[in-house]
Amino acid sequence: MAIFGLWVINKAGGLVYQRDFAEGLAQLSSNEYLVLAGTLHGIHAITSRLSPIGASSGAHVIEGETFKMTILLTATGTKFVLLTSIAETSAGAVLQRVYEAYADAVMKNPFHTPEMPIRSEGFDARIVALIGTGHT
């Protein structure tokens, strides 16, 4: 049971925050994370169109063989993506608390420009307090 990483994607599809926790996934450059976040943004939009029964949200959980990605889409279009092991059950709850930390430490920060990369020690501290090393 481990949390591998956290991404925050703005409503245009750009990656604004990325942090790794436990080992288990490949180490990629920041450029590659930017590309993957953009791809995920596009895929999320398409998955809501493919529904066989009409209206659907975008993908919530995307599973591979050893890890899964849980996506929380907020009402403002910001996506919070948590990469965890398959067995991890608390991904939804963790993402909710990450969203709360984002609202407190990032949105209420008068020096932060919305939709821009997040450079906030307060947000980092809250994330570390929330997730720690990622091992549970």
Binding site: T47, S51, I53, G54, G58
Partner: protein, 225 residues
């Protein structure tokens, strides 16, 4: 717990087979010349340009008429989306329903044409596969994803055939179901069928035995309703 539909893609990235059960939002017919292979699904093949597109019961466009279909293989559409009626007369293997589409589906439809939809599905699974491979660093494949309305499962064979199944969001992994479709009906009626061209770029793998046995297999599952 229900299963909505099944797509099979070949290694040339074309949709080779399509079968649906409970979709309420029917796919529209493929556009003429839109790249849909013949023999994928009779109900979704493009209408010939000269045929009137209005009444579904006219002789040319009725699903009973297979003369107009360009496919060289006899295909039978089992009237998916409605409760399956047992075939009353022996040939063909499945009774085609009069007037193909259920009356509630609008002719123009709010959905995409089928060939575009198949391309979208393929694009999504390809992109997700690449993304998961890059992220994990190992040779790892994408297994499934879940939205609020459906769950999409992927099963890939060594020969490059990709089975994609859409089910309701609470379903457990359907990999085993797709694997049994592969080892059962697919091997039996497609691979071992000397008349079915598997690796062609112009023909799907639809034939009445394959369709019937897939239908029987899926309807017999405990997860199917």
């Amino acid at each position: 717990m229900t299963i909505y539909c099944l797509y099979i893609f070949d290694r040339h990235c074309n949709c080779a087979y399509y079968h649906d059960w409970h979709r309420t939002k029917r796919p529209r017919r493929a556009n003429e010349g839109g790249g849909l292979l013949q023999g994928v699904s009779h109900a979704l093949a493009p209408l010939p340009a000269s045929a009137p597109a209005s009444a579904p019961g006219t002789p040319i466009t009725s699903p009973r008429n297979t003369l107009g279909a360009g496919a060289g293989v006899l295909v039978a559409f089992g009237g998916a989306g409605q409760p399956q009626q047992e075939p009353q007369s022996a040939p063909p293997l499945l009774q085609t329903q009069a007037g193909g589409m259920p009356p509630s589906a609008p002719a123009g439809g709010t959905g995409l044409p089928f060939d575009e939809e198949a391309k979208l599905v393929y694009g999504v699974i390809l992109s997700l596969r690449n993304m998961i491979k890059r992220l994990s660093g190992r040779d790892e494949t994408f297994v499934c994803y879940r939205t609020s309305a459906y769950k999409l499962h992927l099963f890939e064979t060594v020969s490059g055939y990709r089975f994609v199944m859409l089910s309701d969001p609470n379903a457990e992994s359907l990999r085993f179901v797709m694997r049994s479709i592969y080892t059962g009906p697919f091997l039996e009626y497609v691979v071992r069928n000397p008349l079915a061209s598997m690796d062609s770029r112009e023909q799907g793998v639809d034939n009445e035995y394959f369709r019937a046995s897939v239908d029987r297999l899926v309807r017999g599952l405990s997860v199917f309703l």
